[in-house]
C-alpha cells in the first residue's frame, strides 16, 4: 500500500496561509512595539512551522526560503541584530513572497522567480550583515554529524561552535504512535532537525520490534532515547516535533544544565527527583558517557532498558509542566476544521426542516379536539427546537470581523509610506461576528473605501498642520451590531468631500442639471453613480473608474446598503449596513391578488392606509403621497409584477413605507398577512437575476413566495419616472 502525501497538501496550504496571516499581523505589531521578544517568537514559530511542512512535503523552494527567513528571525530573537526598517520591509515582503510561492505549488500559478531570488538574496544579506552566515539546512549538518565513519564530532555548519560549548543536555524519549509515518512524520527527518541544534545521540529501543513477517511496514515499531547536547530552549525542541504532535509520545527532560543558571538547574533537578528519585539520576549520569562511547562500542543492553524506565517514571512531571506552559496545545484540541460546504449542507437541511415544520403547522390548524391540541403543543415545541437548531448552525458560519480587518494594518502601512502621509489606523469592534460569506464579499469594497480615504481623504502632513490638524491622520474602521444587522464604518479625519467639485463634475457629465437644487446628502450620493470620479490624476490606488458604484453594487448584492456623511475639512464617514446572514430573512408577508410576497422587515418604515384624496399625480413625478413632509412615490406592486389585485383604489388596500439605499417609497398592496422568518432560496442559482426580486421562499402551505428587493424596486420605479430620481 502506498501513501499519497498529496492528500495532506490542502491542509498544509490552508494552515500555511493562516500562519502567514498571523505572521503579517505580528510583523505589523512588531513595527509598533519596536521588537517585542514574544512577538518575534510568534513570527519565528510561524516561519518554522511552514518550513517544517514544506520540508516534509518536498517543497524545497519554500523550505529553503523559510530557512533563511528563520535564520534572520533567530538573529533578531537573540538580539544579535536590531530591528530596523530595512529588515521590517524584507520580513513583510517575505510574507507576500511566501503566499505567492504557496500559490505556485498549489495552483501552478507562476510566482515571480526574480522577486523570490531578490528577496532571498536580501534576507541572506541581512543575515550576513548581522555577522552570521546562514547555517546550511539541518539535513546537511546531520549527514556529517551522524555518519559514524566520519567520527569527527563537530559538524561543519555554524551550529557547531555553539553546540560544542553547550553544557545543557536534553534527554528525549520518543515513541511513535500508529499513525506517525502515514502522516508524513519521518523520524529520520525529525532527528536530522534535532541534530541541527547540536550533537545528537540516538539510541533505539528495539524491544517491541516484531519479526519481518509480522511487521506492519506503515507503523514505526522502534522507540528512541535521544540525548541532545545543546543550549537551546525547550521551546525550540518542541517546535521540531510540532507537526508530529498527537502522533508520538514525547518526553523531554533537561538532564545536565549550565552552571551559569544555577537556579534553573536546582529547580529542574528537584522536580525530577521528587517524581522519580531513583530513575532520573542514572540517565543524567549515563548520558554523556554513552554519547561519547557511541562510535566505538555496541549499545549496552542495560542502557536501553534503564533509559525507558527513567523516562516513563518521570513522565507525569514533565507532562504537568507542559500543561502549564503550553495552553495553546490544549486549545487546539477543542476545535476542528470543517469545510464550509458541510456547514452549508447542514444549513440547507435545517432550512428544509423549517419549511416542513411550517407546513405541519398549517395542517395542524385543521385538526380539532384533544388530539389537535396535543399536536399543536408538540409542534410549538418542535418550532422552538428548530429555531434553536437553526441559530446554532448559523452561529457556526459566523466569524469575527477581524477576519477582514486584519488585512488593513498592512495596507495602511504600505500606502502611507508610498504617499508620504502619516496615517494611524484605528480599529474597533473587531470581535463583532458576521456570516463568513458576507465577510468574504465585503473585503474588496472595504479595501476600496480605505484606499479612497488614504488617497483622497487624508491630506499630506504639512497641509494638515496648516489646517490646524495633527500631522498624523486617522482612518477608523468600526463594526457593531445594530438590531438584526451589522454596521461597518470607515471614517477618516481628512479633508472631506469637495461638494462644489462633485457638483461641477456631475453637471459636466450631464448627470444633473445646473439648475437643480441639491441637498448636501444628494450631492454626496452622486459619487455612487457609475463612472463618477473626481480624482485629479488616475493613480494605481484609486480613480480607475471602477469606483463607488461598484462598491455600492457589491454591498447591495449582499442585501446591505451604504451611506456617506462628509464635512469639508473634517472628514468622511462611510456607513455600511449588512444583514447578519444571507440565508434567512425576517419578513412581512403581504397579499397582492392571489400572490404572496415577502417584504424584508429591515426595509419597512411603517404601514398606513391612505384616505381618498391623499395622493397626487404630479407631472413628471408620477403618483406620490405625502408622508411627514416628504412626497414619496407610490409603487403599485400589482402593476410592477403584472398580477390581478383585489384592491385598485389606494384607500382599499395598504401602503407600506419602505426604504432602500436611503430612498423611500410607498408599496401599495392588498393586505398584510403577518410577520415570519423565511429561508431564502436563491433565484440567481435556480433561474437568473431579476431586478426587484431578492429571492424566493417556500411558505408553510408549500406555495412559493417572492422576496422583494426593495432598493431594486425603488430603482426600477425611479427609472420608469426619470425625473423623480432625485426627489425620493
Amino acid at each position: 500500500m502506498s501513501i499519497d502525501l498529496a492528500q495532506f497538501h490542502a491542509t498544509f496550504f490552508e494552515e500555511s496561509r493562516e500562519a502567514l496571516d498571523t505572521m503579517e499581523a505580528a510583523l505589523l505589531e512588531l513595527d509598533e512595539s519596536g521588537g517585542d521578544p514574544e512577538t518575534i517568537n510568534t513570527i519565528f514559530r510561524v516561519a518554522h512551522s511552514i518550513k517544517g511542512g514544506a520540508g516534509m512535503f518536498g517543497f524545497s523552494d519554500i523550505a529553503s526560503f523559510t530557512h533563511t527567513l528563520e535564520t534572520l528571525l533567530d538573529e533578531l530573537r537573540n538580539s544579535r541584530v536590531a530591528l530596523n526598517e530595512r529588515i521590517s520591509n524584507a520580513l513583510l515582503q517575505s510574507v507576500d513572497v511566501l503566499r505567492a510561492m504557496i500559490g505556485t505549488v498549489q495552483h501552478g500559478h507562476e510566482a515571480d522567480p526574480e522577486r523570490v531570488a531578490t528577496l532571498h538574496a536580501e534576507l541572506t544579506a541581512l543575515v550576513k550583515g548581522a555577522g552570521v552566515d546562514t547555517p546550511p539546512p539541518p539535513p546537511v549538518i546531520a549527514v556529517e554529524a551522524s555518519t559514524p565513519p566520519a567520527a569527527a564530532p563537530a559538524p561543519a555548519g555554524a551550529a557547531a561552535p555553539e553546540s560544542t560549548s553547550a553544557r545543557n543536555q536534553w534527554a528525549i524519549r520518543f515513541r511513535a504512535r500508529q499513525e506517525l509515518l502515514t502522516r508524513g512524520n519521518d523520524p529520520v527527518r525529525l532527528f536530522s532537525e534535532l541534530a541541527g541544534l547540536g550533537p545528537l545521540d540516538a539510541r533505539p529501543d528495539l524491544s517491541t520490534m516484531p519479526t519481518l513477517e509480522a511487521l506492519d511496514p506503515e507503523v514505526c515499531h522502534i522507540a528512541w532515547d535521544l540525548v541532545l547536547t545543546s543550549d537551546v530552549a525547550r521551546e525550540t525542541i518542541d517546535l521540531i516535533f510540532e507537526w508530529a504532535e498527537g502522533d508520538c509520545d514525547l518526553d523531554v527532560k533537561r538532564v545536565v544544565a549550565a552552571p551559569a543558571e544555577p537556579a534553573a538547574v536546582t529547580e529542574a533537578t528537584e522536580t525530577e527527583q521528587a517524581a522519580a528519585p531513583e530513575a532520573a539520576a542514572p540517565v543524567a549520569a549515563e548520558a554523556p558517557s554513552a554519547a561519547a562511547a557511541k562510535a566505538e562500542a555496541p549499545i549496552a543492553a542495560p542502557a536501553v532498558v534503564a533509559a525507558p524506565a527513567a523516562a516513563s517514571a518521570a513522565a507525569p512531571v514533565v507532562k504537568a509542566v507542559e500543561g502549564s506552559g503550553k495552553p495553546a496545545a490544549s486549545a487546539d484540541s477543542t476545535s476542528i476544521r470543517v469545510s464550509i460546504e458541510k456547514i452549508d449542507e447542514l444549513l440547507n437541511m435545517v432550512s428544509e426542516i423549517v419549511i416542513t415544520q411550517s407546513m405541519l403547522n398549517q395542517l395542524a390548524t385543521r385538526v380539532d379536539g384533544v388530539a389537535g391540541d396535543a399536536l399543536k403543543s408538540g409542534l410549538a415545541q418542535l418550532e422552538s427546537n428548530v429555531r434553536e437548531l437553526q441559530e446554532s448552525v448559523m452561529r457556526v458560519r459566523m466569524l469575527p470581523v477581524s477576519f477582514v480587518f486584519s488585512r488593513f494594518p498592512r495596507l495602511v502601512r504600505d500606502l502611507s509610506h508610498r504617499l508620504g502621509k502619516q496615517i494611524r489606523l484605528k480599529m474597533t469592534g473587531e470581535q463583532t461576528e458576521l456570516d463568513k460569506t458576507v465577510l468574504e464579499k465585503i473585503g474588496d469594497p472595504l479595501v476600496h473605501l480605505v484606499r479612497n480615504s488614504i488617497d483622497h481623504g487624508i491630506e499630506m502632513p504639512d497641509a494638515r498642520v496648516e489646517a490646524g490638524k495633527p500631522a498624523e491622520g486617522t482612518v477608523h474602521l468600526n463594526a457593531f451590531h445594530k438590531g438584526g444587522s451589522i454596521t461597518l464604518e470607515v471614517s477618516d479625519d481628512g479633508k472631506g468631500l469637495d461638494k462644489d467639485r462633485i457638483r461641477e463634475k456631475a453637471i459636466s457629465r450631464g448627470l444633473i442639471d445646473a439648475r437643480d437644487a441639491l441637498t448636501d446628502d444628494q450631492i454626496n450620493e452622486l459619487i455612487f453613480l457609475p463612472g463618477f470620479s473626481t480624482a485629479e490624476a488616475t493613480t494605481d490606488l484609486s480613480g480607475r473608474g471602477v469606483g463607488m458604484d461598484v462598491v455600492r453594487r457589491n454591498i447591495k448584492e449582499l442585501g446591505g446598503s451604504i451611506e456617506l456623511k462628509s464635512e469639508k475639512g473634517k472628514g468622511t464617514r462611510f456607513v455600511i449596513n449588512l444583514p447578519l446572514t444571507l440565508a434567512i430573512v425576517d419578513g412581512l408577508s403581504v397579499q397582492v391578488g392571489e400572490e404572496t410576497y415577502i417584504v424584508p422587515l429591515v426595509t419597512i418604515v411603517e404601514s398606513l392606509q391612505l384616505k381618498p384624496g391623499h395622493s397626487n399625480n404630479l407631472v413628471d413625478h408620477g403618483e406620490v403621497f405625502s408622508f411627514r413632509g416628504d412626497y414619496l412615490p407610490i409603487i403599485r406592486l400589482h402593476e410592477a409584477f403584472g398580477v390581478e389585485p383585489k384592491a385598485r383604489n389606494l384607500h382599499e388596500g395598504l401602503v407600506m413605507v419602505v426604504e432602500g439605499d436611503g430612498r423611500r417609497a410607498g408599496l401599495f398592496v392588498d393586505s398584510l398577512l403577518g410577520q415570519q422568518q423565511v429561508v431564502i432560496k436563491s433565484m440567481e442559482s435556480n433561474y437568473g437575476r431579476i431586478e426587484g426580486i431578492g429571492g424566493a421562499t417556500i411558505l408553510g402551505e408549500g406555495a412559493v413566495a417572492l422576496i422583494l428587493d426593495v432598493p431594486g424596486l425603488i430603482r426600477l420605479a425611479a427609472n420608469s419616472q426619470p425625473a423623480a430620481r432625485l426627489i425620493a
Binding site: 551522524s146 555518519t147 519479526t211 519481518l212 511487521l215
Partner: protein, 93 residues
C-alpha cells in the same frame, strides 16, 4: 550466497513492495548480500524493514554482507542510531 538489490528509493511509499522483496529473500537458503549502491533515498519505514530482515537472518544464523552501501543509507541509519543494528560496515562514508 544470494544477492538482494535494493531500489534507489526505499521509503514508506515503497514499503509494501520492499517487504515482499525481503520476505522472498528470506525464503531462499544461505547467506545474503545486500547491494545498496543505488539507495539514494531511505526513510524510517525502509530502514525498519531492513532491520527486521537483518535480525531475522541473525536468528537463522545466516551471514549478511553489505555491498557498497550508499552514503545516504549511512546518513539515515546514523540519524536513527541503527548503523550497528543493521550491521553496516564502519568504514565507508
Amino acid at each position: 550466497m544470494s544477492s538482494l538489490q535494493l531500489a534507489s528509493v526505499c521509503t514508506l511509499r515503497e514499503a509494501a513492495e520492499l517487504k515482499g522483496q525481503l520476505m522472498a529473500q528470506l525464503g531462499q537458503p544461505g547467506d545474503v548480500e545486500i547491494d545498496a549502491a543505488q539507495v539514494g533515498k531511505v526513510d524510517t519505514a525502509g530502514l525498519q524493514l531492513l532491520l527486521a530482515f537483518v535480525s531475522q537472518l541473525d536468528i537463522e544464523g545466516r551471514n549478511l554482507a553489505w555491498k557498497q552501501p550508499n552514503p545516504e543509507l549511512y546518513r539515515a541509519a546514523g540519524q536513527l542510531g541503527l548503523v550497528e543494528a543493521l550491521k553496516l560496515p564502519a568504514v565507508e562514508a
